[in-house]
């Protein structure tokens, strides 16, 4: 089991390129965000039109088309349909958003506005970054001849990949969430930077306890769900920011508060069962490797705590008085516990999982 140095080097270089591309993507998306803010008349009067920037900018060109299919009466009685008449972000269309995306695409045959072009470039760059990022992990796997999730450097990288992919998938379904992009990519870039500097580990085989197909099952699903939960956590944070009215200048172009809330919820309910599965797979693996399926090892304990916090989040969504703000705080706390488990427990507290550390 020797390590191929050329592929290992390629993997490292690809990760550097990935960080560069993500940074560029952040720059472009932020520029789009700023440009959209500065164009007068580009947005309708209501502060929180449900439609996304795409639809909004297109709106002024072709107002007539929208009468046929619309999803946004801001008055609840919905007598008739009125175009964005005032009011806070009540109406929404995360669900309708997918349709909204399809529609907005049809408008964009002509010349696109500048923010729209910048935004699209940003998303395209992020997608390119995902390609490089995946390439980096694949190259590491080929270089070492094992599944490339054997140490903190590798799985931090994989979590970031999962987060960006999750955001891109969400974005495909509802393009209105493009302004969320920089806020997802920023922690990703920070994490990747940390991974490449502090956590970096030479490409090498793993020790006997990690040589199991359960590594593939357990660590991959943990990374996948953690990445998705990062997106959910960011969405809940933005939701709280949007709702609090703090940083209004920054937050005003974000999607409406309840669109963010729904994003957080929908991502969480996909990620939570995956996370549950990952913890169970870990337990099965622990039974084979350590002689017991659950032993309250620090890592297991904090994984349990995170699971309970997300269970509390789902319960809060169904409890009067907790549905909105409270639930969002719990979701943020949930991701905080996941991050704590990844970094603090691995690096500070010694336990059976420590060999995966640095």
């Amino acid at each position: 089991m020797s390590v191929d140095p050329i592929l290992a080097l390629l993997s490292d270089r690809l990760l550097m390129a990935t960080v560069g591309v993500y940074v560029l993507a952040i720059a472009l998306l932020s520029a789009a965000y700023a440009a959209a803010r500065s164009i007068p008349g580009a947005r309708p009067a209501d502060a929180a039109a449900p439609a996304d920037t795409t639809a909004r900018t297109a709106l002024s060109h072709t107002p007539t088309v929208r009468t046929a299919l619309s999803h946004t009466p801001s008055v609840r009685t919905g007598r008739s349909y009125s175009e964005g008449a005032g009011g806070e972000a009540r109406s929404c269309s995360y669900s309708g958003g997918a349709g909204g995306g399809a529609r907005s695409r049809s408008y964009s045959g002509g010349a696109r506005s500048r923010p729209e072009r910048l935004g699209r470039m940003g998303v395209a760059l992020a997608a390119l970054g995902v390609g490089l990022h995946a390439g980096s992990l694949v190259a590491r796997g080929l270089a070492t001849g094992r599944w490339p999730l054997g140490n903190m450097y590798e799985f931090t990288s994989a979590i970031c990949l999962a987060a960006v992919v999750a955001w891109l998938v969400v974005l495909r379904r509802s393009p209105g969430l493009r302004p969320v992009g920089p806020f997802v990519l920023l922690p990703v870039v920070v994490l990747l930077f940390l991974a490449g500097t502090v956590l970096y580990a030479q490409a090498a085989p793993v020790q006997p306890a990690l040589q199991s197909y359960w590594l593939v099952v357990h660590v991959t699903t943990i990374c996948l769900s953690s990445g998705m939960l990062l997106v959910a956590g960011v969405a809940s944070l933005l939701y709280l920011l949007r709702r609090s009215g703090l940083g209004a200048g920054l937050a005003e172009r974000l999607p409406a508060a309840d669109v963010l809330d729904r994003l957080a919820y929908r991502v969480t309910i996909v990620a939570f069962p995956i996370y549950t599965f990952a913890v169970m797979a870990g337990a099965i693996w622990a039974e084979a490797a350590w002689g017991r399926f659950w032993g309250w090892d620090p890592k297991e304990t904090v994984a349990f705590v995170a699971w309970v916090v997300y269970a509390a989040y789902l319960h809060a969504r169904a409890t009067a008085g907790w549905r909105t703000g409270g639930a969002a705080w719990i979701n943020v706390a949930g991701f905080a516990v996941i991050a704590f488990n990844l970094f603090f427990i691995n690096m500070v507290v010694a336990g059976l999982h420590s060999y995966a550390g640095i």
Partner: protein, 562 residues
């Protein structure tokens, strides 16, 4: 809960209030009322939420404070580091969080709350399954999803089309004067999944409890190259953790023999593979008296030996130096005791091999002429004057030892570590250093009284764990059920759909076949309501609207879903 107001989806996981609670309130008195209110409070959603928080909070010290069950040495160290704080934490049970009464109280309350909430919901759900879908609201325009169109077809034709399109939905058709309505529901499996998930958690806890009651776990060190271990009693183990109902008299018998152990290392010193070739005899073999036949098994880190509900694991390995002591009268004694690794990277090991001088009749003389060879063992020595290990594999072993003579305290009735001598006895002069020397295999040192101590060589030992947990499969089964239930309850949407068909003209446009050659026109109004928290019904509704209303679509809209 037959007609939920359309604007408020009912809670997805728990029922918050009982409908008929208010009317009986006046009759409640004294203890019964209190008990009732307590029960209601305990099973409420808010309480469940608080208990979940508490559970998360209570589990955290289990990760942040060292735990006795995991590493008693770290707990002792903690006592040393925080002499004031540690006893307080100890009193509060912080070093055994998961055995602490307060932790048990939280999860038991949570389970009671869960049962109290889930059982009524099962009944309610069973009733809901039998009931017909709720009647069509009068004003469909108020629903979150709504569309209307006028089609060139009779009420009956459209009703048939609706029925066909809504196959898979639970449907009910009703007449409203000249109009006809269809109510449909889908997604009852969501609640089924939810209930399955919560009940599975109880089953999982029971499986865990069974394991804690009748399971056991023991560790034992066995010499490679023929060492044997038989699971006959607790005394055979080096350490043993028994379940609450295990007294050690009824262990399942079996034997293992470790024939060989091989460790493979990368040039960096990182371990690449461990493998112990063992032979074993099952309970049946032993009963049948086949004690000379050993079934072979390659024991590796991720592949334990499983037999008759018992599992044998390869947990660790290390080295045992062999010393031969030749006393001045020619008597020889050979000692081989496992030394424990102190540096996991290079397997530098420490330990003490202890001897009693044979052939002495005087007790006092025998007690004070004991010998101990204690120090460090390097599997691959650096070769310098101070022995250090540079590689974990046994390539160039060397020991750096003190030979101590005197009273080791083997007879004073107290247990002592096999890895060290009692330092207090060195300080008190009961043990005196007879030599300090570095030895390679074959080399010997001669003490001043003529005794020689020879370092013969090194053998490997493996550390085995034997585990027995009959609750394990139950836990696995319920965990799988819980996961399925969870996935169902989060992915399935509970939703309702209504159609109202109103004939445009003619008094005979009853809900029935129209005239043979009339040109019928019907106003079709549809409405939809997602009864759960999740958005996403809009897309499905749009599809339904498109299929049913086609190009006649006048107005589809999605109101706020909440």
């Amino acid at each position: 809960m037959t007609t939920a107001p359309p604007s408020r989806p009912d809670s997805t996981t728990r029922r918050v209030e009982n409908d008929n609670s208010r009317e009986r309130k006046g009759q409640l008195a004294g203890g019964w009322g209190l008990a009732r209110n307590t029960w209601r409070g305990l099973t409420s959603m808010r309480t469940a939420l608080v208990l979940l928080f508490l559970l998360a909070l209570a589990a955290l010290p289990g990760a942040l404070v060292p735990q006795r069950a995991l590493n008693a040495r770290l707990v002792d160290q903690y006592f040393g580091d925080y002499p004031r704080l540690a006893p307080v934490l100890d009193q509060l049970g912080f070093f055994d969080v998961f055995a602490a009464p307060w932790f048990a109280a939280i999860y038991l309350l949570l389970m009671v709350s869960l049962v109290g909430c889930v059982l009524p919901r099962i009944r309610e759900h069973a009733r809901g399954l039998r009931a017909a879908p709720v009647a069509t609201p009068r004003n469909l325009g108020r629903l979150p999803h709504h569309a209307i169109a006028t089609l060139d077809a009779s009420v009956e034709e459209i009703a048939d089309r609706v029925r066909a399109r809504l196959s898979g939905w639970r449907q009910a058709r009703r007449s409203e004067g000249p109009a006809c309505t269809v109510s449909a529901e889908k997604g009852h499996l969501r609640e089924v999944g939810n209930l399955v998930f919560h009940l599975s958690l109880i089953g999982l806890l029971i499986g865990l409890a069974v394991g804690k009651l009748v399971g056991y776990e023991g560790q034992v060190i066995v010499m490679a190259g023929g060492g044997q271990f038989c699971n006959t009693g607790i005394l055979g183990y080096d350490s043993f953790r028994a379940g609450l109902r295990v007294d050690g008299t009824d262990l399942d018998p079996f034997c293992v023999r470790v024939d060989d152990f091989a460790a493979d290392y990368l040039p960096t010193g990182q371990a690449n593979a461990f493998r112990a070739d063992i032979g074993y005899q099952t309970a049946d073999d032993l009963d049948a008296g086949r004690v000379d036949r050993w079934r072979p098994y390659p024991l590796e880190v991720n592949s334990p030996l499983r037999l008759d509900g018992l599992r044998v694991y390869l947990l660790g390995h290390g080295y045992a130096p062999r010393f031969t002591v030749t006393f001045p009268d020619g008597e020889q004694r050979t000692g081989e005791t496992q030394w424990r690794p102190v540096d996991p990277a290079t397997l530098l090991s420490e330990g003490a091999t202890k001897f009693e001088r044979p052939g002495l009749v005087d007790d006092e003389q025998r007690r004070t002429s004991q010998l101990a060879v204690t120090g460090l063992l390097a599997p691959t020595s650096s070769g310098g004057k101070i022995v250090t290990s540079v590689f974990p594999e046994l390539r160039n072993p060397e020991v750096a030892v003190d030979v101590l003579r005197g009273d080791l305290g083997l007879d004073d009735g107290r247990g002592q570590s096999i890895f060290s001598v009692d330092r207090g006895r060195v300080e008190s002069g009961e043990l005196v250093a007879a030599a300090r020397v570095n030895l390679v295999p074959g080399a010997a040192v001669r003490l001043e009284d003529g005794t020689t101590v020879r370092f013969d060589g090194v053998r490997q030992w493996v550390s085995l764990q034997i585990s027995h947990d009959p609750g394990q499969l139950t836990v696995l089964g319920f965990a799988v059920l819980a996961l399925l239930g969870l996935a169902m309850s989060l992915s399935i949407r509970r939703r309702r759909f209504w159609v109202r068909l109103t004939p445009v003209d003619g008094p005979d446009g009853l809900c029935g076949p129209g005239g043979p050659d009339r040109q019928d026109r019907t106003v079709v109004e549809i409405g939809g309501l997602a009864r759960t928290d999740q958005a996403g019904y809009g897309e499905e509704f749009d599809r339904l609207a498109g299929d049913l209303l086609g190009s006649e679509l006048l107005d589809v809209r999605t109101n706020d879903e909440r």
